[in-house]
Amino acid sequence: MSDSHDHSSAGHVLSLKMLAGTFVALLLLTALTVATGKMDLHGFDLGVAMIIATIKATIVALIFMHLKWDRPFNGYIFLVAILFVGMFLAYVVVDTNTYQNDIKGWTKENISNSTAE
């Protein structure tokens, strides 16, 4: 009631053609990601796989999950989740990567060697 400046998604019916088309597109993208996964893309493998996965996820969210016709705020909730996960991930990965050099070499074997000396 308070956020209702635009239409609620209640009652918006997707055409069967749209649903089936989305499904086929998702299948094609899956085939594409399997194909690119088998190729050697010289370090861009992860990037390409993630781009394709993100496209697939966007299609699912916008069409299957009705976000395209839903209240924008529901979409913002989704984006906030992604944003916080991204922030969380970035901090921890930067941190562990930075201290990795300090702990490298401190494996169990080396410690027992150094105490033996």
Binding site: M1, D3, S4, S8, S9, A10, G11, V13, L14, L16, L19, A20, T22, F23, L26, L27, T30, A31, T33, V34, G37, K38, M39, D40, L41, D45, L46, A49, M50, I52, A53, K56, A57, V60, A61, I63, F64, M65, H66, D70, R71, F73, N74, I77, F78, V80, A81, I82, F84, V85, F88, L89, V92, V93, T96, N97, Q100, T107, K108, E109
Partner: protein
């Protein structure tokens, strides 16, 4: 404040059906947000170990069956499609079609779990488990590896020659693999229960084109389970 006529579809604390539909859907989206953050912890663990040990992930990923993973992706996509179609059907008042489509969704989910079971049992027999598991071939001390695995595990030969730290990290990969897919699998199982409940309610005639929040929210949950798999598949199976 509220209308005088009694409407059994409307809970007493809402003013009208639109407010109720909006609130339910809003609540569902907030719940999906918590689900995404629930998984995020494991994605962070994944990212940490992968960025520090890319070679381990590349090595370990070859033990996963890409074809089974791809088939499972297709199965989940199909179930998502039928779930979305079920929402369309309930909006149009096609009661029997809703039951059928939800049924197909449940079947796909069961198929997904069956394939998952095949993968898990295969890994168990070959000893492709986290470092501390009894049947693991990535154990700290190679002498501890169970004799059944030593005899039947296909990859035992090469694994034994790995650097100890590399072997430990491979164990971590499988720890993450089982946690991520296991947690996702639990969500699939919950989804099956949810869909069966929706089917029962639908057959009882609880839904109509005016009130179908439960089907809509159930489908949203199911799409999220699909979304997470869309990321898990390339992250775990397609590391070249």
């Amino acid at each position: 404040m509220s209308s005088d006529h009694h409407d059994s579809k409307l809970a007493h604390h809402f003013d009208d059906l639109e407010q109720q539909f909006d609130a339910n859907k809003f609540g569902m989206w907030v719940f999906l947000l918590t689900e995404i953050l629930f998984f995020s912890g494991l994605f962070v663990a994944y990212a940490t170990y992968r960025s520090n040990h890319p070679d381990v992930f590349q090595y370990a990923s070859q033990f996963l069956d890409t074809n089974l993973g791809a088939v499972n992706t297709a199965v989940l996509l199909l179930s998502s499609f039928t779930a979305a179609w079920a929402v369309r059907a309930v909006q149009l008042g096609q009661k029997n079609l809703v039951t059928t489509l939800l049924g197909i969704t449940v079947l796909c989910a069961c198929g997904f779990m069956a394939i998952k079971y095949m993968e898990y049992s295969h890994k168990y027999h070959e000893g492709l488990l986290w470092g501390n598991a009894e049947h693991s071939i990535f154990k700290e001390n190679t002498a501890d590896v169970a004799s059944s695995v030593r005899e039947h595990g296909h990859h035992w030969g090469d694994v034994k020659d790995l650097d100890p730290e590399f072997r430990r990290q491979t164990g971590i990969f499988f720890g993450i693999y089982f946690c991520l897919t296991g947690l996702h699998g639990i969500h699939v199982l919950l989804g099956i229960i949810l869909m069966l409940w929706l089917m029962r309610r639908n057959m009882r005639g609880d839904f109509s084109p005016e009130k179908y929040d439960a089907v809509d929210c159930g489908a949203l949950y199911w799409h999220l389970v699909d979304l997470i798999w869309i990321f898990l598949f390339p992250l775990l199976y397609l590391i070249s």
